[in-house]
């Protein structure tokens, strides 16, 4: 036993027989409730499920038919659309956030408070509330007069700037020691160079945080693609699940196969970058 870490309930440290049994029961219950449905989805995607009542966590037989039928229904196309949106959306979001974070963290300039207030205000304006005017504006962007309805670009650019990512980057960039920047300035480096070669390389952990959160945020988008897409050629995978379900010729097994493809990317990203995810959760929520 290592150093005793006291917990609020003291259950974790309990070494008695009763405590051990209680712990095992609780862990099992938690796993069943929270991971059980996802396990059923995994089993169902590879099973012969013709009817919703056949859903179960116990595998009966193994088949790839669900995936074959799903691909015949165009799921591969939807998956590629989703990857396109998340790839370019995340790229844009990260570039925009590091640039804005650099200005807010390393510069003092007139109007800075105004810029900060504007960015904080956007956190109060989620897509849901702006849905109707956004759909109007996307069909005819002011000044430039592009119509983004029915295009994947229409699902990407509105997510390009995200207040959360900018604030995380700003907080992190503030902690990079001034001495490094000064030394570079003495050597005659300009802002772009300092930004790209000094500040950015020091911010890898923060890049991990905004990368992971940006990925899950964009991958989970539903209302925006719903507003933007006009026909199935521009559906993302989450959007296509409903169309699949409504089609009477498609069995629940096929819907589950497509659902599995829709959840795997975000689960994989979470499992690989769990540390970034958890640190971002606590910093984002606790700093308010």
């Amino acid at each position: 036993m290592s150093a005793p870490t006291e917990t609020a309930l003291g259950l974790t440290e309990s070494r008695s027989v009763g405590g051990r049994i209680l712990k095992a029961v609780i862990y099992l219950l938690v796993l069943t409730v929270f991971a059980g449905p996802l396990l059923a989805l995994l089993v169902g995607a590879f099973g012969h499920i013709k009817d919703p009542t056949q859903l179960s966590v116990v595998p009966k037989g193994f088949t790839l038919d669900n995936f074959r039928i799903a691909f015949d229904q165009g799921v591969l196309k939807y998956l590629l659309n989703s990857f396109f949106v998340v790839g370019f959306g995340l790229l844009l979001q990260v570039v925009v956030s590091v640039l804005a974070g650099y200005a807010l963290a390393r510069k003092v300039f007139p109007g800075m408070t105004l810029a900060l207030v504007a960015i904080l205000a956007t956190l109060m304006l989620p897509e849901e509330i702006l849905a109707l005017p956004l759909s109007v504006i996307l069909s005819d962007l002011p000044v430039v007069h592009f119509n983004l309805i029915g295009t994947l670009a229409g699902m990407i650019v509105p997510l390009g700037a995200w207040g959360f990512s900018i604030l995380v980057m700003t907080e992190f960039m503030k902690d990079v020691p001034r001495e490094l920047e000064e030394a570079a300035r003495i050597d005659g480096a300009g802002d772009l160079r300092i930004f790209a070669q000094i500040i950015l390389p020091m911010c890898k952990p923060a890049l991990g945080v905004i990368g992971v959160f940006g990925f899950t945020m964009i991958w989970d988008q539903y209302l925006l693609p719903l507003l933007v897409s006009t026909d199935s050629s521009s559906y993302t995978l989450p959007l296509a699940l409903r169309t699949l379900r409504i089609d009477p010729a498609v069995t629940p097994g096929v819907v589950m196969a497509a659902s599995l493809l829709a959840l795997l990317p975000s689960v994989i990203v979470f499992l690989f970058f769990q540390r970034s995810f958890v640190s971002g959760l606590s910093s984002g929520a606790l700093k308010g």
Partner: protein
């Protein structure tokens, strides 16, 4: 975040310019020296430009246009007509909107309270360092990263209303059911809430776990010495220590609850019989299916005002508490 934090540091950086050690932080010569090295006054704005431009296009212009649309009869191709507060009157007097607002509040409160209590219980039960515990926690966290659309489709299948549906079989084991779940107006709201809690509780659990690490261990020891029971320790030491976590989670969850859309849209789309119609599904139907954009925009503005008021109230309460 505040200016006063950044300023001394920036001054130090400006003052450290080589061969000008006397010009610390001010003076026209110093400023000129700095502008040569660290760019001109508009350099920061250049770095901020992409973010501000995108926010202008996709946050501020839409918000302004929601406000104007809410006072107009929006007619594409025919030109909009100013109607004053007529849209607001229509919205506020409509039975459907009031029903939807009530459903939204019920759903938001139910999900917030449910997810927070369950999340707090889970955090207490699974606080600790062991590797096995870490595995259980990660597995329990999975619902949070699963896309909402997948959550909804999966729960639709689990909610299958016949006796041999997945959740009905579980109910059957304890002698209850079968329930119609999302297909029965009496249980449809509770079913959506249950799905929301399933996805929200692990998120709250993670935040509580992060908060628990900052509770002073010495206080637990002291409470033990004073003969406090396990529950007294939780109630008098842990809960007060987590007060700010509780209030932050509450406001985040309540605001998220007010603008709930995707899970309701996919699980019931407001049905059966309007029993789960929430503000956002109603706005969606008004604006995009019936093309009554003005009325929909008025509803959206009211929703925005509600979230704004909620945020301000919680902020005021927190400020008063911390004084």
């Amino acid at each position: 975040m505040s200016l006063d934090q950044a300023e001394p540091a920036a001054r130090a950086a400006a003052g450290s310019a080589p061969r000008e050690p006397a010009l610390r932080g001010g003076g026209t010569a110093g400023r000129r020296g700095r502008s040569r090295r660290s760019g001109r006054w508009w350099t920061p704005w250049l770095f901020l430009a992409p973010a501000l431009l995108l926010f202008l296009y996709f946050k501020f212009i839409p918000m302004a246009s929601a406000l104007t649309m809410s006072f107009q009869d929006v007619q594409p191709y025919l030109g909009n007509r100013w109607v004053g507060t007529e849209n607001y009157a229509t919205v506020l007097q409509s039975h459907g909107f009031r029903e939807a607002a009530w459903h939204t509040v019920v759903l938001a409160v139910g999900e917030t309270v449910g997810a927070m209590s369950l999340g707090f219980a889970l955090a207490l039960l699974m606080e600790g360092q062991s590797r096995r515990l870490g595995f259980v926690r990660s597995a329990a966290f999975l619902p949070v990263v699963v896309p909402l659309a997948v959550v909804a489709e999966l729960w639709r299948i689990m909610y299958h209303p016949t006796g041999d549906g997945m959740l009905n079989s579980v109910l059957g084991l304890v002698g209850a059911g079968p329930s119609g779940f999302i297909n029965d107006p009496d249980t449809s709201m509770a079913s959506i809430m249950l799905t929301g809690i399933w996805r929200g509780a692990p998120y709250d659990m993670m935040i509580f776990l992060a908060g628990l690490t900052s509770v002073d261990r010495g206080l637990y020891e002291a409470a033990k010495v004073d003969g406090a029971s396990r529950w007294q320790r939780v109630w008098y030491v842990t809960v007060p220590g987590l007060r700010s976590v509780f209030s932050i989670l509450f406001i985040l969850a309540a605001i998220r609850g007010l603008r709930v859309f995707t899970e309701v849209f996919l699980l019931t789309n407001g049905g059966p019989n309007g029993s789960t119609e929430v503000v956002m599904t109603l706005i969606y139907k008004l604006g995009l299916e019936q093309n009554r954009l003005g009325v929909g925009a008025a509803g959206a503005v009211l929703l925005f005002v509600a979230t704004l008021i909620l945020t301000i109230i919680v902020q005021l309460l927190r400020r008063r508490e911390s004084k």
